[in-house]
Subunit: 265 residues, 6 copies
């Protein structure tokens, strides 16, 4: 039982030994339950952020908390829209509340650093707010020993990787929803949960530069994906997962463990 | 991919087929990340409620949503107290918010019935409030087609099972925290996650009939368990899991599918 | 004016003398405005918790604050349901807010111990949350001088009393709504407010082991009571009130005043 | 039991008969638990608003709900300040929440008109907000059958009464805290709860025209009263109570029952 | 750039010099976007409170923050009602939240005193609550160096001025909505924004002494003004603006700068 | 008075004529009060979004509401951090609340389309949430006549403009805080509020790809700007303002007025 990096697997006494060092790091994957087209499962974002957290945790000697498995409402520009069946979301207050509570709980227990590993575009600002409110309540300001980090894993994809994964040019992160990046990662990490035979090719969605509410449903492609997953492969998944995990682990080691980190961006 | 009962494994199009019947039932396991002594993992409540949900779903043809993996604050009388490391909790507003959002999302998608399967004592009233607020917002009142059910799995343990699991007398549900019921179930369902060699025997906790805050920490046994798990066995777990799953499935079938249900209590 | 145990009767200067000892105890009765069948008044829960608070206060030298006269929504399993006319309820946030504010106000004034005496089943967890939030805001943790206690009066009915009040067997606390316990207590304490001639006998309600929302109204008996009050008597009320007040006073004296308390359960 | 105007005394079936007319009016007294000097009890505001509600209810055939017995924070300019022991308050959100819930509960039960009778200066705007939010949620707009009224009883004191109660000139409502009006009313309505021998005479408080927070405590007179109660009498209380109850009853009858109301202001 | 009293015009480095003294005072005008009849612009309340803030700031060496340009819902008794087009309002929670955040931000930056200059009747209590919550969070109590003041500018109109502006008698502040005071001030301060040719004369509104919700729309005069602006003049505006600015500056100087202030009321 | 596009300048009757067409569009500028280095004023974001709103309004025949002048907390990665004096912020709940209230108010008045023109990076998601909550409350879903749009003005800068404004390469929107874009726009639109002699040149900030809280203050350059404004010019401001206003007006005309819009991206 004790070899797992997952908090849900640890007993309380083993966990307390980890806390006793004063250096415990807890990673919290954050995802969504959201439609990802006909070829990817609803849990894609949570599955991927959990895999990144696990990979990084093993490198850093960190622990992985249970994921926040429901995310903020899907926006049409980045997830097709919250009106699509399968997309099951929290509003801002609930997501802020969850993040705020988890930060307070972990820091009060003596965790040194909490790191949110985000895998759903729309979550970011609400997680930030939850973290900020928690630190204000705890009275933790600049110079404190404890800290909380927040990141989205795709921000750690290097230019080089991008060029190799998207040889015809990168369409942009916002419409990478059910596209080549997520599909390739899933093909590598969870092949049994991908149905490549159901994949529908087609042009990327062209959405206005504003958000409109209520949405105009027909602006989202019928697949629910904003860019095509054609061209996805497990090999690209290997590359993506390896490079991002490397960079994440190095950069977090540099930030949290004081190890020199020279990372090409 | 399509054979899974877990929503996170389904793609959106397969899920929409399930919704198209107008009869979809979604079960939501609810647990906690909470200390359960030296022999059980922190995720025990979530693990168990997920297993019950899976078992029931297979019987009813229902789906299982991702669990609510963090629960309301542990109270000393039922979970040892929220001050114990490993116990990582949501406050009332956050848990109400999560439940309210999930009910709204699922019912808006066309799910016919949502069922919360609770595995952490302290959650119950906050889940109830989240459900009630959601239905009020949706304008769903008596006589509506859609409904939401809320239950704790231990309320479906029969008197007969109880007598066989606790031959020396049942100590009460509130102090069944890390005790014979949870441990036996885990031995049956997740034996690799139980460390029986770390189990500490001892008398059940004797706590006052009031809640006191702040807690008097020494009132909680050093193990964090409120009653001893000595006497747990995988066989008892088989009995408990089978009987409760049976009764749950029958009673829900009677309520939601209109099937006659004759259940001994 | 000064002899009253009720805060609303005290002038501020007399109250400040009580605070000056550093040992002031304030009891807050909590009830509801809720239908209790044709024979009991809507204010039953508030009336009874106020009487228990008064009895205990006289024994402990404590003060009684104005009651929280509106409670959390009536649940069908314990109060017949919130849809019944006469049942006038607060949602979770409002009740949490009231409890939180009262705890903060009283502890900031210098009250040593605040004790909530609950008389409405559904209130409990929301009061707990209000107390916990208040103590967190005030920075009061384990080892502090000040404390808050929370209890429901029926948890102090002894097994012996139970056997005498329910010679045919006790039906369970949840369905003790408008039943023998409440009616007997009212017959003893407020006979003019009981109309025994309007009492309707009948079998106890048989409700499922889950909560269903929206409620199925016909599951609640037409009286709104979940068990029959037939067999109630002022004599049973004398017994109940005396025994519970005794045990409550002894147990609180032991907890708050450091007096040895040997109480048969 | 049935002759009482107080809801807490009514059984649910009698109450339902009142609702069946479609014309039921429920009055809700609102007060505070607040220091009122050495001669008046902490519950003064709640006691007085309850008496006015009772008097009006008897005239209108209306019912009186349990009072909201805790009010918004005492402001230095109108109540001496919230820092004074004995003053036990709700914050804005809690008071808004209570008012909002009560309006929703009563109107959903079929009450035609709800009337808040306020007796604590600082409550007013928060009650208004609670009412407005409730009506928005219920979808009740101009032209609806149901309505909610909000008033403070002192706004119904006539110029003539004022001249007779304050022969030396009226000091203003804001500093009428523990002064001649409240004391005279209490001498008439609850003489046993007034201690005229403890009354301290002195000049009225002179407070700036702004609110300052945190308060400068010494700006509040040592008595906690903002104007002297010297000159109070039961006779003035008879006059005040009679005139205000008359005008209130007439004006409400005109508004809610369609009766012609000719009231001198 | 540096000579402006308006914070929005200052660069951060110049502002930090002002903070460095430890004596910085920031004035926050508060208004509304609200119908003010056919002759005054929707922004009247914000425009006027901003002018008063500017005038006072120049006298005190204070700074003026950007106004809170949207206010609490217009009440029929003081603003004609929130149903009138052009009236664009915040609910209580939003206004409390804005005030609370601004107080926290400014005091955390090192501002010594924050002063809210209110120009919309209905805002007052919500601003008060925002201030009080902020100070509680910051732990600022009696005796602290920092403070927050709250005032409505019309409370500083002297009796003498009132007699000169309303030679036929003052109708009361509540119905001074689009009337002589506001119109005269606008004629003096922003003549291009007043259309005297559109002014509609007529008797003052006669409204009940209670608030009724939902409103009875026809009780508000067709103009949306509660009293006539006939008799307004720029000369009266000069008098009002000069006298109020004088008294405000003197009284604030006395309170915040320790200067003797002898002000006729 | 009537020629102004600013709502604060309009009287209510003129505004109602605009509403009567059923086609009224209201633009709401959103900014911040935030440090922008030594050369730009604290109000920069609000000033710029107001100018864009004004320019677009004149082209579309729309109206401009008073700006939301305080924004969400400055994040270190996009605004230097919320700890810097001059930065005066709202938390998420307050900003969500303001946006939600404004949408409800304007749509209830009969405005056809509301458009938020954002000028502060961190605001976006909270505005989105406020809009979404408002539409849910109003029951406005896909296919409705009314809509709300949300955009940040920099998303309308064309590739061509970017190449001309940043001849050495564009550093990215996140660190465009007090840099060439904002400074050039201010030099064109509000030259008197810019102090080019105080501008400090230097390399762009290099910040990690994660957010860290609490911030490490020394990661923000001493100026508070994240990229240098060297190279700013009024000419670039003319180009930026003209091109963005053009594209915004065309794209909004296409979306809201049904006019064909062919816009190069």
């Amino acid at each position: 039982m004790n070899k797992s990096v997952f908090l849900e697997d640890l007993d309380a006494f083993t966990y307390r030994e980890a806390l006793a060092s004063g250096e415990a790091i807890v990673l919290i994957p954050v995802g969504s339950l959201e439609q990802h087209g006909p070829h990817l499962p609803l849990g894609t974002d949570t599955i991927l952020s959990s895999h990144f957290a696990e990979g990084v945790a093993k490198r850093l000697g960190a622990l992985v908390a249970q994921p926040i498995a429901y995310g903020y409402k899907s926006q049409q520009k980045s997830g097709g829209g919250n009106h699509l069946p399968g997309t099951t979301s929290l509003d801002g207050a609930a997501l802020i509340g969850v993040a705020r509570n988890l930060v307070k709980s972990f820091l009060n227990q003596g965790v040194r650093h909490v790191v949110f590993i985000n895998g759903h575009f729309e979550n970011y600002q609400f997680l930030y707010e939850g973290i900020d409110l928690a630190l204000e309540e705890l009275g933790i300001g600049p110079g404190a020993e404890q800290s909380v980090l927040l990141l989205s894993y795709w921000d750690f994809v290097s230019q080089d990787t991008l060029a190799r994964v998207y040889p015809d040019g990168f369409p942009g992160w916002e419409i990478e929803h059910g596209g080549v990046l997520e599909t390739s990662l899933m093909l590598h990490l969870e092949p049994a949960r991908v149905a490549m035979d159901r994949l529908v090719d087609g042009p990327a969605a062209v959405l206005p530069r504003f958000d409109r509410l209520p949405v105009v449903p027909e602006r989202t492609p019928a697949t629910g994906c904003l860019s095509s997953a054609a061209g996805s492969s497990a090999d690209k998944g290997v590359l993506l997962y390896g490079q991002v995990t490397d960079h994440l682990a190095l950069e977090l080691a540099g930030e949290l463990l004081g190890q020199p980190a020279v990372i090409p961006v």
